[in-house]
């Protein structure tokens, strides 16, 4: 049921398929109505999914679309959270402190982006890991600014005299920012910027020959990714209400990477799916913990090891993640009795040119 296209504008729309607008409209309306009848617990859980999804979109732009792996993204989350909380406590209005916290995190992204321009793969992962550790250390030692290990209480935000407190307020803030961030991400992906990012991911050498300034676009990708993650951090601060530097450590960075890998690299849907999965998993473990045999549920470190196990299984058996599985399921139903297993099998890629550096 392909529509006949009659103008190039049609390919530039955000909603390209006939059912996009009604489907996502209904989804959004349902999400707006959730706090009216859901319990506080579920409102909180879904807000947490939204916050992870924002960070996931941020990291997806960097890892999934530009091909740069970061193991230090929790640091940007922390920078956004502390930035927002410190500004609020100094009397900066929330309407200003939220975007500013994104800007500060984005600037931090430039700071880590520029020195790592020539790195990729494992080396970049190690460099960003080190950056993350440094940021945590600074947060712990700079007592006068961050309160160090005592933590930092996050003031309630207020807009136009209304104090936004309680789970519903966090829920709507997170939903609003998530929708805005998704729109910006979709804009990026249909503009030259998004194509430049994909080009850098797939072949730096020919991206350069097509006139793409690698240094500039990699730095921009880092800045945008870090900025979006910083926004997630600001909301994370309002969600947890009390910040401590060590909550933004390696474990959180790995959770963020898990979001993009489990969700499916190179898809915004994947970032949201992965966030739902990663944010809900600890609760799912808690629910079944007592019923597990042999005392497995009381083992220490059950959660991180399950994360690791799932990540390994996903990479081995479904490299395209939840989003890829979703596409395959959809096509299975579409072509119901005639589904072919090979439909999604990629050919072996041809030999690449000798790597030039």
């Amino acid at each position: 049921m392909n529509q006949l296209k009659t103008s190039y504008e049609q390919d530039l729309r955000l909603a390209r398929r006939r059912w996009d607008v009604p489907c996502y409209g209904v989804l959004l309306a349902a999400l707006v109505l959730v706090p009216q009848f859901a319990s506080t617990f579920y409102i909180g859980e879904i807000s947490f999914v939204f916050i992870y999804a924002i960070a996931g979109v941020g990291l997806m732009l960097l890892t999934g679309y530009t091909g740069l792996v970061s193991l230090g993204h929790a640091a940007f989350l922390g920078i956004g959270a502390y930035g927002n909380a410190i500004m609020l406590s100094k009397g900066v209005p929330f309407a200003l402190s939220l975007p500013l916290s994104g800007l500060i995190a984005g600037f931090a992204g430039v700071v880590i982006g520029i020195p790592t321009l020539r790195m990729s793969g494992l080396y970049l992962a190690i460099a960003t890991l080190a950056f993350g550790s440094i940021v945590i250390l600074v947060g712990e030692k700079w007592h006068s600014l961050t309160g160090g290990f005592d933590g930092f209480p996050v003031p309630h935000p207020s807009v136009l005299g209304f104090v936004l407190e309680g789970p519903s307020a966090v829920y709507y803030m997170a939903l609003g920012v998530l929708v805005a961030v998704l729109l910006v991400a979709m804009n990026i992906l249909r503009a030259p910027l998004g194509r430049a990012m994909v080009a850098i991911r797939d072949s730096e050498i020919s991206a350069q020959s097509m006139g793409i300034n690698l240094a500039f676009y990699k730095t921009v990708a880092f800045a945008i990714s870090a900025g979006i993650t910083g926004l997630a951090g600001a909301l994370f601060g309002h969600y947890v209400r009390h910040l401590a530097p060590d909550s933004f450590g390696v474990l959180l960075s790995i959770q963020l990477v898990t979001i993009v890998f489990i969700g499916g690299l190179g898809s915004l849907h994947g970032a949201v799916f992965g966030a739902a999965f990663v944010a809900m998993l600890p609760q799912a473990i808690a629910l079944v913990r007592d019923d597990l045999p042999f005392g497995i549920g009381r083992l220490p470190g059950l959660e991180p090891s399950l994360f690791g196990l799932i990540l390994v299984l996903v990479i081995m058996f479904e490299p395209s993640g939840i989003h890829g599985r979703w596409l395959k399921t959809k096509s299975w139903f579409k072509s119901f009795p005639l589904h072919k297993r090979a439909a999604f099998r990629r050919q072996k890629s041809y030999a690449k040119s000798e790597r030039l550096r």
Binding site: P192, D202, S203, Q208, M210, R346, A351, K352
Partner: protein, 264 residues
């Protein structure tokens, strides 16, 4: 400099290896200039110096009256020099159309901030880029593969897509690195037609590295033969093919040129 494109005493050394040494040549506007030579002769190295992936150890490169020896690599496309790669360097996880649109990158001048909001100027520019890309799709007859992922396309089509992506930059000089490698006889003939068309209809100057002598003699105005980084011969295809030094480089042995040439 007396050519549209000229190279003077170009040299490239990797440690002790002299990949290219003292290579000078001029390419006239509207010409198809082929570079031939055995493996390791330095052909692709010359291309990599022109597209500024390597910085020459010595010598200069001029294009259209401008010194391009030390210009930033990403500015080469903007000057009107586009290239293809020997082993195809397409963006495999993007569609054919997206690949062509990436070729339009050097003509995009919208700011990053306006792209975040997809402002009207970005939209207008995108429609304009799309029109150009569609012209190339029509020129090369790629309509039915427009929305397919490169990873799903056969090798022969990918080769054409790479040519198309280079054309999307609206080049004045096109560098083709082994356009026929991996193609069957029919596809090679097709490639020869396109090279002719690009030269005649679009008026683009072409420098080509190629092994298939049939293709070289069919399309080239002049041919340069290299061996071990040095120029062996430069002239028309027939002159170069009958040059004793060239035959010796390819077939080896003593320069009994007449004998070697008579072998069919």
């Amino acid at each position: 400099m007396n050519g549209y494109f000229s190279s003077r005493d170009l040299a490239m050394r990797f440690g002790g290896i002299r990949a290219v040494e003292g290579v000078s040549f001029d390419v006239q506007r509207g010409e198809v200039f082929s570079i031939i030579g055995p493996n390791g002769a330095g052909k692709t190295t010359i291309f990599n110096m022109i597209s500024r992936i390597y910085t020459p150890s010595a010598g200069t490169l001029h294009f259209d009256g401008q010194d391009i020896t030390r210009i930033a690599p990403h500015r080469i496309a903007g000057l009107g020099i586009a290239r293809t790669f020997q082993n195809i360097e397409l963006f495999a996880n993007a569609t054919l159309l997206q690949n062509l649109l990436i070729g339009r990158h050097c003509h995009s001048n919208v700011s990053v901030l306006s792209q975040l909001g997809f402002l009207p100027n970005v939209r207008r520019a995108e429609v304009e880029h799309r029109k150009r890309a569609e012209e190339v799709i029509e020129f090369l007859g790629l309509q039915r593969n427009r929305d397919q992922l490169i990873a799903n396309l056969p090798y022969g089509v990918r080769k054409v897509v790479e040519l198309g992506r280079a054309l999307c930059t609206q080049p004045k000089l096109l560098l083709l690195d082994e356009p026929s490698s991996g193609l069957n006889v029919e596809e090679t003939d097709e490639m020869a037609f396109w090279i002719e068309d690009i030269k005649k209809d679009l008026g683009i100057t072409i420098i080509m590295v190629e092994h298939d002598m049939k293709l070289v003699s069919a399309v080239s105005d002049r041919v340069m033969a290299l061996n071990q980084g040095r120029i062996l011969a430069l002239g028309t295809s027939a002159q170069v093919q009958s040059d004793a030094e060239v035959i010796r480089a390819y077939i080896g042995g003593e320069p009994e040129a007449a004998k070697a040439e008579s072998v069919p």
